[in-house]
């Protein structure tokens, strides 16, 4: 599996193409690729990877508290993994038309991104990936509650990883205080 570094430092972000030749269903290949990428990232960081457990919402986390958080995302042929010392969520999506019915949901997080409007497929995909990244970081699932978003200070990082894919990373500031925004 060929790996590309998207971001060094914190967050440390890797991306790869999911090998089509791997055995198993699509979801099994996505899962395997995600775990493999996480292992590669941890090796690159020189951190011994602990076991992984899942919370009641299905969000994976390191079994032992090693001071790092991670998030894995996949979309069609791509898988990405992000690691940080802050709570983190990431989402990768192919640039596409985001249904207009989701405008109210997108507006909940648009102010956190660099996007000034949600007119084009690119801007809508950027905001959508930010939305998903925040949802994954919080671990509550969707839809996001406005209060849940505003309760924390977020750092959203967006990367166009190739011509038609957007990756967003949401970092929840560890010093976030309820009602701080």
């Amino acid at each position: 599996m060929e790996v590309k570094i998207i971001s060094t430092g914190d967050p440390f972000v890797l991306i790869s193409i999911i090998p089509a030749s791997w055995d198993g269903s699509r979801s099994e290949r996505e899962h395997e690729a995600g775990i493999h990428l996480l292992k590669v990232a941890m090796e690159m960081l020189g951190i011994l990877m602990p076991g992984i457990e899942y919370d009641i919402f299905g969000k994976p986390f390191f079994k032992d508290d090693i001071g790092y958080y991670f998030s894995i995302t996949h979309s069609l042929e791509y898988v990405a993994c992000a690691i940080s010392k802050q709570e983190i969520g990431c989402d990768i999506e192919k640039i596409r038309k985001v249904p207009s019915g989701l405008d109210n949901e997108l507006e909940k997080v648009r102010y956190l991104t660099t996007v000034s409007d949600i007119k084009s497929p690119l801007s809508r995909t950027i905001v959508w990936t930010a939305y998903e990244a925040i949802a994954k970081c919080l671990g509550f699932g969707i839809p996001l509650g406005t209060c849940d978003v505003q309760k924390y200070v977020w750092d959203i990082k967006t990367h166009q990883v190739c011509e038609d894919y957007i990756l967003s990373i949401a970092l929840k500031n560890r010093n976030s205080v309820s009602g701080s925004r």
Binding site: L76, K97, V98, P99, G101, L102, E105, E132, I142, P143
Partner: protein, 72 residues
């Protein structure tokens, strides 16, 4: 509302072409049935059917027919 109308609404929500969906189709096999589609489904149920669909309820949907049944 008849089944054809419900399927058409679902196809529009999932950004699919008319006639792409069949009631017996397994949702996990539909590439477009991703998290974006699930949120659009929540909005659709709220706006068009006045139903508050939750993430937990969505997890119980296995086939397209399950969604059609939920629409009522």
């Amino acid at each position: 509302m008849n089944i054809e109308k419900k399927l058409a609404m679902l196809e529009e929500t999932l950004e699919l072409e008319e006639g792409d969906l069949k009631p017996e189709m397994v949702l996990a096999d539909i590439e477009e049935y991703n998290s974006m589609a699930k949120l659009a489904l929540i909005v659709l149920m709220s706006d068009e059917f006045d139903k508050k669909l939750t993430s937990d309820q969505i997890k119980t949907f296995v086939t397209v027919q399950d969604i059609l049944d939920y629409m009522g």
